[in-house]
């Protein structure tokens, strides 16, 4: 194989998304964000800044919150990925989604999937966070509508309900 064709080679990469095994044919430097949205049609994950500042593209990889705009797809090989589409079961919203809905934690909606995943990650590590811990857990997620009060309240409410067990 000569250098240029080697450089342009796509490869097969497998991982699970929301419990389902997926195999994609992609360039290894494609961003996980793009693969999720364009290859797999999972458009719940949003692109905001594209440089790890805003958290709109947050997903979980092996249980850890990450910015999918900063992950080359090759590094997701073999990983277990959860996107916002993976939280609801059988058409029933997950507790956190429900509490965002009830507390008015979403306005334009761009930050919401990332906010919910960041909150999910926080509650899985600290089921009963303090207000300070909620703020820290969401500090990597920007809301351009600035509706932070309702978002923080939604997370506190979900914690009260024992959202993540």
């Amino acid at each position: 194989m000569n250098e240029s064709s080697e450089q342009r080679a796509k490869c097969e990469i497998s991982f699970t998304v929301n419990g389902k095994l997926q195999t994609v044919h992609a360039y290894p430097m494609e961003r996980l964000l793009d693969v999720l949205r364009h290859e797999l049609g999972l458009t719940g994950t949003k692109e905001g800044c594209g440089e790890g500042e805003c958290g709109s593209c947050s997903v979980l990889i092996d249980g850890l919150l990450v910015n999918s705009c900063l992950i080359p797809i090759l590094q997701a090989s073999g990983a277990k990925i959860v996107t916002i589409e993976g939280l609801a079961t059988d058409g029933r919203l997950q507790f956190l989604q429900q509490s965002f809905l009830e507390c008015g934690g979403a306005q334009c909606g761009i930050c919401t999937p990332g906010m919910i995943l960041a909150a999910y990650h926080l509650l899985s590590k600290k089921p009963q966070p303090t207000l300070e811990e909620i703020r820290e857990g969401l500090s990597g997620n920007l809301c351009r509508c600035t509706g932070y009060m309702q978002i923080v309240e939604a997370v506190a409410e979900a914690a009260r309900l024992g959202a993540v067990r």
Partner: protein, 464 residues
Amino acid sequence: MRAHPAEYKLVAPGTLTAVLSLLARDPGVWLPIAGGTDVMVQYSAGKLPARKLVSIWNLPELRRIEVSADEVRIGAGCTYTDLREHEIVNSEFALLTSAASWTGGIANQNRGTIGGNIVNASPAADSLPALLVYDAELLLVSAQGERRVPYANFHIDYRKTRLAPGELVRAVCLQKQFSGYYAHARKAGARNAQAIAKVCLAALGRMAEGAVEDIRLAMGSVAPVPIRLIETERIVKGKQIDPQLIQLAKTSAAAEVRPIDDIRSTPRYRAAVAGNLVAEFLEHLGARGSRNENGKDVLARWNELPSLEAAQNILPCCGSKAWARGMADRRPIFDGAALLAACDEIWKSLRESDWLEAFRSHPRIGESRSPASAPAQSAAWSGGEQQKVAAAGEDVKVALNEGNRAYEQRFKRIFIVCAAGKSAPEILEILQRRLQNDEKTELHEAAEQQRQIAHLRLKKWLSS
């Protein structure tokens, strides 16, 4: 212009050896990428000069934190989250934990690595001032072998380091020599979260007899590389902290920094803040100097207790009554170093039955319940020490459980290991190795582990 992924190559050889031989084959061609929090930003903006990348993310060889008696060796591939969750890093190198906690948000902390922060060589990098004050050394590795260099000489200019082509940072080595110091970290940024520093300070100080016995100051974002404020340190060292000294230090720090004018701040603002941060640190240090300096308050109270009570008081640190009595008999003890030395001497002089009594005060590794006879403080400490085991996967826990059983059958006592900061797989590996020991070797190994546990607990006890 956005980058097109087809123009880039990325490989993931999976082991350190394979990565190093790739780097050696074409030196300077391959760009290592770990968590991607810096490289991917450049890539997405179309500003990444390299076209060939090699993934070093999650290489097991780079993701360990090894703790020995004198040193903590942090694998370069450890993330900020790894640092924040590591008990020994927290207790011995609090400045590094603070820096980790304010680097980006949680998602970036889950991916960004300490090695990446070092080689990215930004003057604003949060963890670097901490490495300066702790006199960190870097272990560098290439296909030719390893070398160890002081971090202080590693950054030579703006975004320039002494890393040779084909070389990687393998680990950051920190000597455990600052446990008696007051640690203070402060970052001034545009906001609390996700900000890049306008100025950040990492500072250590130790008071003795009302004066500053030692002081170490380092700052980021105030020069082309993170710097030590040597001149300001010289002015403060040996002096009593009063308003006059604070003013002198403030002026000196403001003059010692060489800040630039950029998107985030102006030189004048940065210099003024640099002075203020040093002043703030000295105020804290001064206020602390009159309180529990290196645990002196705790020791002073303990020295005055009746003998039996003094033994009872220190027993949670090491569950042998003979040891606790021995410690009480050694009083008065005036500082932490003398306390640790007494601990070691007495521990070594004990009989086997006393050692066994101390071993019995611990819960089994992987079991949260301490023996009913263990003091409440001891049980609480056990919980903290075994934090990482509690978080382990079910399969590792099952294997540990089996290992515990095999150990108890073979040696007729529970398996003792200084679990603080060790992950469940690491402990499992140690357990399996020690199962091969003969009785005498194993008894001494267990006793050494118990000694290390006692040291950790005595330090906590001193700061209580």
